[in-house]
Subunit: 236 residues, 2 copies
Amino acid sequence: MAIARAVRSPYGSRGIRTFSHDGALIQEKRAEIVRSACRVFIRKGYDGTSMRDLAKAAGRSTGAFYHYIGSKKDILYLILDFTVMNQQEFLERMRDSTREMGTVQAITEAIRIYLESFEEYADMHIFVNHVMVKLVRNERRMMLDAAQRVGEFFEELLQRGIRQGEFREGDTKMLAQNIVVLGNSWVNRRWFWKKYFTLEQYAQGQTEILLRAITLADRYETEHGERTIAKSTAGR
Amino acid sequence: MAIARAVRSPYGSRGIRTFSHDGALIQEKRAEIVRSACRVFIRKGYDGTSMRDLAKAAGRSTGAFYHYIGSKKDILYLILDFTVMNQQEFLERMRDSTREMGTVQAITEAIRIYLESFEEYADMHIFVNHVMVKLVRNERRMMLDAAQRVGEFFEELLQRGIRQGEFREGDTKMLAQNIVVLGNSWVNRRWFWKKYFTLEQYAQGQTEILLRAITLADRYETEHGERTIAKSTAGR
């Protein structure tokens, strides 16, 4: 059965798989369980959630659910596993689609992909962030490492931009981590952001703020066809 | 007794008090309870923490602890109350100390005060962030409103800078919220930040990134005595 296969292969026992090793259907089934479980966990807390709650959220009877999933801990591992795979997957997507681009365009596109993937599994990211303190050391390590690979990707992109003379010298570690934080900020503060911005506006606005900070000023102004500096200076 | 007075006055029943209404000793006692409780809650989770754990963390016998505090919920209210007061307090401090400053200096100083206050009660901010989902609507509203006042302060500061010709036109709502997020990012990702930055370096680096994004380019370069643009352009 799909659920059984989706749940077996406990997280950590054989490293990170990529989506491509699994059939699309199993992957879909897995995503479904992760989504419904995370929604319940966020609302009731991990400790306050029963297997009955989880079965109900997944649209199954408790008996049927137990047939495939031994315990709440299984679901937790499924979620952690899925999160790591998901991060691996969008990291590959960011790499592939930006390889041929100039750094300004590449960073714009990578931020868009990164934020869209956060939006797609917003509840999962919120839950994983909350459950982190409950994990044992090597589980937590694995989750943090996955997040760090995203930071390293952006750091390399920033450094490439500096080498190529597109970006000014700067603290690429801090800037890259700030980009990583954009995803968490979007899902954790969606009550605020969504009052004022769509995801697209958020991605564009944050990219513009970032580019203003790192792009050589004359170049940025020229590329965007603005003359803000000249205007403001003249106005004084 | 100090603890009893510290704990009574349930959160929400009489609005926000400021530190100045209370004796320094009671305030200290309160801070002590909040600190020790938040440390335990983060480690064991709110649901997984017993009154015995809380008493032990506060260095008291369970009996003595119950004498002053009726339930775990009392402690939760104490923490929420304290958080709102604390935010009120550093907001006033930010206002008072930046009133006479130019906007660049004001924003630099306000970010420093804001981040230092987050560092001082890091566990509390982490816990409150985690417990938010458990709150009833008007409790949550009160916590979010307190956080929003900080965002509004920074938004006004940014708008003042634009009016005075110090900052370029830009999305002040997004920028202000990004500053608010700097505090959460510091406490939630301290495992990362502290590997590379002290709080002082973090505050300085983030302020510099922000100022690069919002300051009119020629002005920023001149004030900081740098000639990055000229140099980089020449190097191409």
